[in-house]
Amino acid sequence: MLTEIKPKRAPSLPEIPAAGFPFLRPAAAVSALLLFGVLWEAFRGLPTPRASLPNLVRETLPLSGVANPVTAVILNFRSYDTLIEIAVLLLTVIGARAATASAGARLSRSVPEPLLAAFFRLLGPLIIVIAGYLLWIGKHAPGGAFQAGSLLGSAAILGMFCTGWAPPAESGCQAAVLSLGTILFCAVGMGTYLAEPNFLHYPIPWAGTLILVIETGCTLSIAAALFVLFTICRRT
């Protein structure tokens, strides 16, 4: 009856069990406000920048083999950071696989609707072509390996949902594609180390080609890594 209708009360946000620290929330709020104040004062007090690094990048851009300054910085001037980043992505996949190795549950196969499958038959090749375009255009305009790789990975996830295709748990082909980026990068690095005395120091006439080769490997690797991470997160 009318008396049994309880008013809706939204559940309050759960807190960290405050063992001996009952004022956690106000203390954290005050600390966050203080942090914001200190950082804002520091940001306001920054001196006017003397642009030295952008000028350096612009001057050496013709020697780098590409025309896009961001791609030049990522894959030529700071290529070691990118190598470490691709290796970190591979390590994450290895760690995620190791954390779920004993779970043993298969990915549940979703039942596809025919409309979704037809939609993906139209959209999938288009996404692949656009990803290839992004990879190629990274030399002249905004684009590059990461954008193309993430687009390919998203296409793979979309394909998994639209067509009901589920990947096997582990396979040699998967391992090969996952590690392709790191292996290519290290191979180019070792090649330049043996040819010239510096690791990842591209010879100038070969710089553009080497960058494209590395970017292609990284694209496939990033796509596979993102897809595998998604399937591991989803596994029941």
Binding site: P11, L13, P14, E15, I16, P17, L24, R25, A28, A29, S31, A32, L33, L35, F36, L39, W40, F43, L46, T48, P49, A51, L53, P54, N55, V57, R58, P69, V70, A72, V73, I74, R78, D81, T82, E85, V88, L89, T92, G95, A96, A99, T100, A103, F146, I222, A225, L226, L229, F230, I232, C233
Partner: protein, 102 residues
């Protein structure tokens, strides 16, 4: 106010908001969401700094750093989500509450 000042302040605000969420809230998923918000705030601050460099084209070195940072942030988030799921799998047999600090 220049756009870079505005976006820099917003980045700092997001960072402080994310840090509060990561320290004061309870469930793991909420803390991971708040940490991602904080990371996005840091990226916004870096790109605002790059934009105020005073050159016609913004400084590409922080752009490269933030691009690397986005990929590493996604990797870390995926890994910690896998760990949360695994922790839940290993400990879900006895607990009856749904809103516990898991």
């Amino acid at each position: 106010m220049e756009p870079s000042d505005l976006y820099g302040s917003v980045g700092i605000a997001l960072f402080a908001l994310g840090i509060y969420g990561a320290t004061a809230l309870g469930q793991f998923m909420r803390q991971v969401l708040a940490l991602n918000v904080a990371g996005t705030g840091v990226f916004m601050f870096l790109i605002a700094i790059a934009h105020r460099a005073g050159t016609p084209v913004p400084d590409p070195v922080p752009h490269a750093m933030v691009l690397t940072g986005i990929v590493v942030a996604v990797s870390a988030t995926a890994f910690i989500l896998v760990l949360i799921g695994r922790l839940r799998d290993l400990s879900d047999s006895s607990s009856a509450q749904d809103d516990r600090d898991d």
